[in-house]
């Protein structure tokens, strides 16, 4: 077994087990930490797949942004200690996981995944970063710009919604 495979399996097991922790833990804070672990694992898989830039983006945006947001959410929605804990549905969860995974594995097991074959060898790390940037402002320029508009709208809209929490003058309906 090559080293890269070992690394792959390690991180795969790590991210899956962290994911299972989210599924089974009763404490929402633990879950947030486990989510971080999962996201890290995914980032590692990105590295294994040769996308260093994406791994970095994953760390910055997900771990640095989404996760923090979720933690804020945990804090904001604190009601009492009990509210952090909830009843588990172990059996149901396991059944769900097994069913979905089984079905998908069964359906996709013998598919000829026809991923692009290149004449040249895989990109090196710097090449990918550069090319990513190039592609974003050329071929995928439209996507890039629309995402900008999208984020602007989300920003304004989320502000509108959330501002209600700060608005003391409004009464709860």
């Amino acid at each position: 077994m090559k080293l890269i495979e070992i690394v792959f399996f390690f991180f795969a097991i790590q991210l899956l087990s962290s994911a299972l922790v989210i599924l089974f833990t009763r404490n929402v804070v633990y879950a947030a930490i486990a989510l971080m672990s999962t996201l890290l694992g995914v980032a590692a898989l990105f590295v294994v797949a040769g996308s260093d830039l994406l791994a970095v983006v994953q760390l910055v945006v997900y771990v640095g942004g989404v996760l923090i947001l979720l933690l804020f959410g945990v804090l904001y929605t604190y009601r009492d200690p009990e509210s952090y804990f909830e009843k588990k549905h172990v059996l149901l969860s396991i059944v769900t996981v097994v069913c979905i995974a089984g079905a998908l594995l069964f359906l996709l097991s013998d598919l000829p995944f026809n991923y692009p074959q290149l004449e040249t060898s895989p990109h090196d790390a710097t090449g990918i970063t550069k090319r990513t940037g190039y592609l974003w402002i050329t071929n995928n320029l439209l996507v890039f710009e629309v995402v900008a508009v999208f984020l602007l709208v989300v920003l304004v809209g989320a502000g509108w919604i959330a501002s209600h929490v700060l608005d003391k003058s409004k009464k709860d309906v």
Binding site: L107, F113, N140, L142, V143, V146, V147, V153, G157
Partner: protein, 492 residues
């Protein structure tokens, strides 16, 4: 060709979208510097923009000689008469919605917020992109551009019901997006591309084993089914309808649906003749008809009733996706035209009645027909449109849809299609009952409400009458529109 030249060349086709973005920014700035928020600056800006976009698109559309069927922006979008026509529909629908919010003073919180118009414009922008997109990048992005502002609009009334509805809508939408993304990732792996409409992609797709081809495609289409509230992605609809304000519902039930159906229509055209695709849609549509019509039948609450009705209507429109031929496309667009005029009127009048009666149960509407005769009669007319009764274009819409399915059934003789037709017929019969339920209460029950009706609603009457007018006029000359559509759909 140099990529920069290509981008520069593509920009000319992006003028409508650009104008929308500019309007969005203008509203943003106006909102920032507007102190009172009471006057109609936002609305004026938005409608002005929509009108100018409409004129532009209309000019492009009817100056047909100059329209090429081109893909631009590195094969992200495509420009052709069908898309221009759909954009025209979206603009008309958009104008109706903005006017809807303006006319009715109960939509005050929506009318006076700049954010409403921004989110609305974002949704419209998303719809514009969705109808034109030929690449999964843009499909995904435009769907998000539609969905996320929708979540916010639904939640925007910020009371218990509204936030709950927004939350559910969001969770459901995010889940549907997740399913779609997973499907996209698999499709990408299977076909090595995201450029949905390219010949290369079609060939690659055709090579996938039948056994799983439709599963992945189904996963990809999940978000579109979600947007069009087709079975089994419909459960959000009743709750969202119950929770949000009518002005928002109006946006939700028209713009995204039109865009998503046009896109689905293009997909259908892409897969024309592939029986398996039709069967997938047929099953989805058949169940939608079943669920929508029969659940609506037992509703007491007009909001939920309209929700199920919208599921059923989705089913009826979806029937036009089955064939994939010219007639199907014509009938789909025809149906959408009817739909986009009638649904706002229905929602508007229900909104009006609901506020008079202070309740959204059918029971509360007793005897309004005598107090508000014209409004009620127009409501009956709308309901007739939705049922598909003369003298409204709804009648022809239904006929065309049924004809297209029948025609397709004659070619492939699949029992499933026959089943769909049967369910649709049964559903049409059932729809008479639930659509006529409200008129029944309006006209045949004695007025019980003690509220004195003092609203000055001349403008409302003008709005509903004018919006209903095209539906009635279309009944008398359906061939004009059909002939136009025949020319247009040839470009798909």
């Amino acid at each position: 060709m140099n990529i920069l030249d290509h981008i520069q060349e593509s920009l000319q086709y992006l003028a409508p979208e650009g104008m929308l973005v500019l309007a969005l920014l203008a509203v943003l700035f106006a909102d920032m510097f507007q102190a009172t928020r009471k006057n109609a600056v936002f609305a004026t800006l938005t409608i002005g923009c929509l009108l100018s976009v409409g004129v532009y698109v209309g000019y492009e559309l009817f100056d047909r000689n100059s329209i090429p069927n081109v893909e631009f922006m590195s094969n992200m979008l495509v420009q052709n008469p069908v898309i221009l026509f759909s954009k025209l529909l979206l603009i008309i629908s958009g104008i109706i919605e903005i006017v809807f919010i303006q006319v009715y003073h109960y939509s005050q919180y929506l009318r006076e917020r700049g954010e409403t118009y921004m989110l609305f414009l974002a949704i419209l922008l998303g719809c514009f992109f969705l109808v034109a997109s030929v690449n999964l990048f843009m499909v995904f992005l435009s769907l998000e551009l539609i969905s996320v502002p929708s979540y916010m609009l639904v939640a925007s009334r910020l009371d218990k019901k509204s936030t709950e509805a927004g939350m559910k809508y969001l969770l459901y939408g995010a889940f549907a997006t997740g399913v779609m993304l997973f499907g996209i990732s698999l499709i990408y792996g299977l076909t090595a591309g995201l450029d949905l409409f390219s010949e290369r992609w079609i060939l690659a797709f055709a090579a996938i084993p039948v056994f799983s081809k439709w599963i992945v495609l189904g996963l990809v289409l999940a978000a579109l089914f979600f947007k069009t509230s087709l079975f089994p992605f419909h459960p959000w609809t009743p709750d969202t309808y119950e929770g949000s304000s009518w002005g928002v519902l109006n946006i939700l039930s028209t713009l995204p649906k039109i865009a998503a159906f046009i896109f689905l229509m293009r997909i259908s055209a892409l897969f024309e003749g592939m029986q398996s695709y039709s069967i997938l849609i047929a099953v989805i549509v058949g169940f939608s008809l079943l669920v929508g019509n029969f659940s609506a039948l037992v509703q007491q609450n007009v909001r939920r009733l309209m929700a199920y009705s919208s599921i059923a209507q989705g089913g009826f429109i979806g029937m036009a996706l089955l064939g994939g031929g010219d007639l199907s496309q014509q009938s789909l667009i025809f149906y959408l035209v009817t739909y986009l005029f009638s649904v706002p009127v229905a929602l508007f009048i229900l909104d009006y009645f609901e506020h008079i009666s202070k309740g959204d149960a059918v029971n509360n509407f007793k005897g309004f027909g005598k107090k508000e005769p014209i409004m009620s009669i127009i409501f009956v007319l709308v309901m007739a449109t939705l049922i598909g009764l003369p003298p409204t274009a709804g009648f022809f819409a239904k006929i065309f849809v049924f004809t297209s399915v029948w025609q397709y059934y004659e070619t492939i003789q699949s029992p499933i299609l026959l089943g769909v037709i049967c369910v649709a017929v049964a559903g049409t019969v059932a729809s008479v009952f639930y659509y006529m339920k409200v008129p029944y209460f309006l006209f045949f029950k004695e007025f019980e409400n003690t509220v004195i009706l003092t609203s000055k609603h001349k403008s409302s009457l003008v709005f509903v009458s004018l919006t209903m007018l095209p539906v009635v006029v279309l009944f008398f000359c359906p061939d004009r529109l059909m002939d136009l559509l025949k020319v247009i759909v040839a470009y798909i």
